[in-house]
């Protein structure tokens, strides 16, 4: 489907001024902070969505808020589009550049600025990876809760841009629930501070607005996040069911009963087989669907919660309940789950959807997802954050077959529309990016979209920041 994605037409005047722009940027950045040779631009030509490739005009790699501000101020003055980039792990094309854009890569803003256990906060630069935050606070007994599967690579800046989630967000919330403050550079280079170490904010919650705004309202250069004390213990437990519908109904009943484990992850039979072949996690292969339910706390607390969950699972005909016996086994169970996308990529091309649905709709949506994909003659593997209703159907196809690629895209669109029609939403944690841009009309009325775009214009009247993303290209207000 790669070349079917429309971008905004490159601004011819910007392309014509390329040499001048690079010379000007070279005045603002040290030599190692500016990439412009075509060969060196290749690593920035796409992101993990990999369905569109374009070399950007140039890449700025600042090491300070001041450098970010200088580049933005320059681009704003001369009407040059800007695409912010963390680690490029976006699954919706959020960091894909365009030919007339300066990419601002935050990877060199990689310092941990402060760990404040007394206030349970960590303040880090935007290019620090998600896992590095937990690693840094771990010796003090703390961790940072949101845990995207890409947490080894993805940056906190990217997490904020997409309001990223992860398996453990069922209990702890997604990025926006764990973010206390940011330093934000506006499109004209003005630096503002949102939030801090304290609860709440006076005036509007611009922090909440910026979280999940996909790099369109400014560039975050520093973030203060909430850190949490590590639980006394944690235990993932495997629940095997005959069918996906039974597993889905069990999840809905657990959550509907008010129990909130740390995580409830779901894998259907294809996903189990793919992950087990890759990670040797010890998943049962004789079941049709698997839940990984993690409980935490003291031994007594874990036992008590588990007993309630087992009782509900029995009502849904659970076939297997297996508690892991060691930390090694627990780590393997999570390794298997977190490598699901990578393991799938080894056996086929795939696109990963990211719809969310109300929990009670889970069995129905799972069933319809299977029917939709089968209707296109394709296969699907489901592996997702079930407790949050955040589905990730992986539609398998052959990217070298344009017909199959078009079918995969069409199936994906139908699935996302299904999620919306079931009372859900196009995205749980991956963002809209370019992938779901045109589906926004299915989720929102014209009035809804107009209001979102008006807010955007209040930050970036020229639509310079990551301009081809989030909103349908047609029907935008004139910049």
């Amino acid at each position: 489907m790669s070349e079917t994605i429309a971008f905004l037409k490159p601004r011819a005047d910007v392309l014509a001024r390329r040499a001048t722009i690079i010379a000007d940027l070279a005045d603002l950045l040290p030599p190692e902070g500016l990439v412009h040779e075509p060969r060196e631009l290749v690593p920035f030509e796409t992101d993990a969505f990999v369905s569109y490739r374009r070399l950007p005009l140039a890449v700025a790699l600042p090491t300070s808020t001041a450098e970010v501000a200088a580049v933005l101020k320059y681009c704003h003055r001369y009407g040059i589009p800007v695409v912010p980039r963390g680690a490029g792990t976006s699954l919706c094309g959020g960091a894909i550049p365009q030919e007339d854009a300066v990419v601002i890569g935050l990877s060199r803003l990689s310092r941990i600025l402060e760990i404040d256990t007394a206030n349970r906060t960590a303040t880090v630069q935007a290019g620090v990876t998600n896992l590095a935050i937990s690693d840094a606070v771990s010796p003090e007994g703390f961790f940072y809760a949101p845990d995207p599967s890409s947490q080894l690579a993805c940056t906190i800046g990217g997490n904020i841009g997409m309001n990223s989630g992860g398996a453990h967000c069922l209990k702890y919330g997604v990025t926006t629930n764990n973010l206390l403050g940011v330093k934000l550079v506006l499109v004209d280079g003005t630096v503002i501070a949102l939030g801090g170490k304290h609860l709440d904010a006076a005036g509007y919650d611009l922090l909440g607005l910026v979280c999940g705004s996909e790099g369109q309202l400014g560039i975050v250069t520093e973030a203060t996040v909430r850190i949490l004390a590590k639980p006394e213990g944690a235990r993932p437990v495997l629940f095997g069911f005959d069918t996906s519908e039974e597993a889905g109904a069990c999840v809905a009943d657990v959550i509907g009963s008010g129990i909130i484990p740390v995580a409830i992850e779901f894998m259907d039979k294809p996903a189990i087989e793919i992950c087990e072949a890759f990670a040797k996690a010890g998943y049962p292969l004789d079941v049709g669907a698997l839940l990984i339910v993690e409980v935490e706390g003291s031994e007594a607390e874990m036992d008590a919660m588990l007993a309630l969950i087992v009782e509900i699972a029995r009502r849904h005909g659970v076939l297997t309940v297996r508690e892991c016996q060691s930390a090694t086994e627990a780590a393997l169970i999570w390794k298997g789950r977190k490598s699901a996308f990578g393991a799938t990529g080894r056996i086929a091309d795939y696109i990963c959807m990211d719809g969310t649905v109300p929990l009670s709709q889970l069995p129905y949506v799972l069933k319809r997802t299977g029917e939709i994909v089968a209707g296109f003659g394709l296969r699907v593997a489901n592996v997702f954050h079930a407790g949050d209703g955040n589905m990730h159907p992986l539609i398998l196809f052959n990217a070298n077959d344009p017909v199959e690629a078009a079918k995969a895209e069409a199936a994906g669109n139908e699935i996302l529309k299904l999620c919306v029609d079931a009372g859900g939403c196009l995205t749980g944690e991956h963002g809209v990016g370019i992938e779901k841009r045109d589906l926004m009309r299915h989720q929102y009325s014209e009035a809804d979209l107009a209001q979102q775009m008006a807010v955007r214009a209040a930050f970036d009247a020229q639509w310079l920041m990551n301009p081809s993303k989030v909103f349908p290209l047609e029907g935008r207000p004139a910049a």
Copy 2:
């Protein structure tokens, strides 16, 4: 201080058209939905901040989203200011009207629309009271977590406007953490939907932005909130200390160690005496400061968490640890705390501050607060959500003595500045309203404020919605 508060100059053209406006509104609303006789307008002339009184031009009391939309559309077309109002319990003047404004009172939008335990949500109209939500879902074993002290009276619409908190928000978060969706009427009468029963939202988090926007971005007519399963048990425990500083240091250490009880409420000696005299809650009178720490879960879980807290409290020289022995005793303990403002009002006039500070600053800020108020020759009682760092110094004064009133206001301003300077914020849960409007410059730079006002203008270019609130009157962009 009542008459020192500046409002925007009433729009003379609006005042001149009063008779026409009332006649026009009478076409849009049934007779019982429109109040315009001066005598009948009196209940709407102020709110719980009570420091300014003006009869509004008229009060609309709609019973449907369509009526709200019709009134807003009309006011927008004719440039008439609008002040939304829930139950009028605002402590910062958020619902205080102005002479040229139509108050839109939401109290008659009081229906509970749906309780969906399978998805753990309740959908209610904006005028439903906070406590009515918990009451409605209680038979199914659920509750709605944010619990402002005014929860018997205050409405969910007002809670959303102010992003209200409460004692139990330490564990469960404030309104924004428990809000899933709203129906919002924009200033021109357009109705948009934000969020729903699902996790996250595609596009920008306008739901998070609207929560806490003090009625300036539109009027919420319906809300879908998260409901939670009632815990197995809950137990408030009283910890008495010799001094406020010791109690504050204990709170900072509990939170800093990563323990998160359901609530940690703080009362200093004056607050203990005032509340005990009123509620006969059984608070110890021989201590200098008291913490009410609530733990919840199974008996074993409560015992385990309590043991950790007691150990920390011992390190801070705790004098008394008293677990309550019955549900009646627990209810009394909370009744005492929640009636603190009312009980204080019986013995003196007071203004209640609402600053938040990073936890580690709590002992210092408590000490300085005492010094500041004493410096003005006044008394202070401190009763607040300590675990959140959300302070509520009640400055006692005689409202009939203009000199004392001015001193109280000056002391309050100094305390709020102290909170900001300690890395905190002007408000935790009460909002900015008119009370803290002019202090916004102490918290924010001109660029910060300009960006907030630009967002506001993206919703309400004419500044018609609750116009005299939140932002300093000087330095606003031309409407």
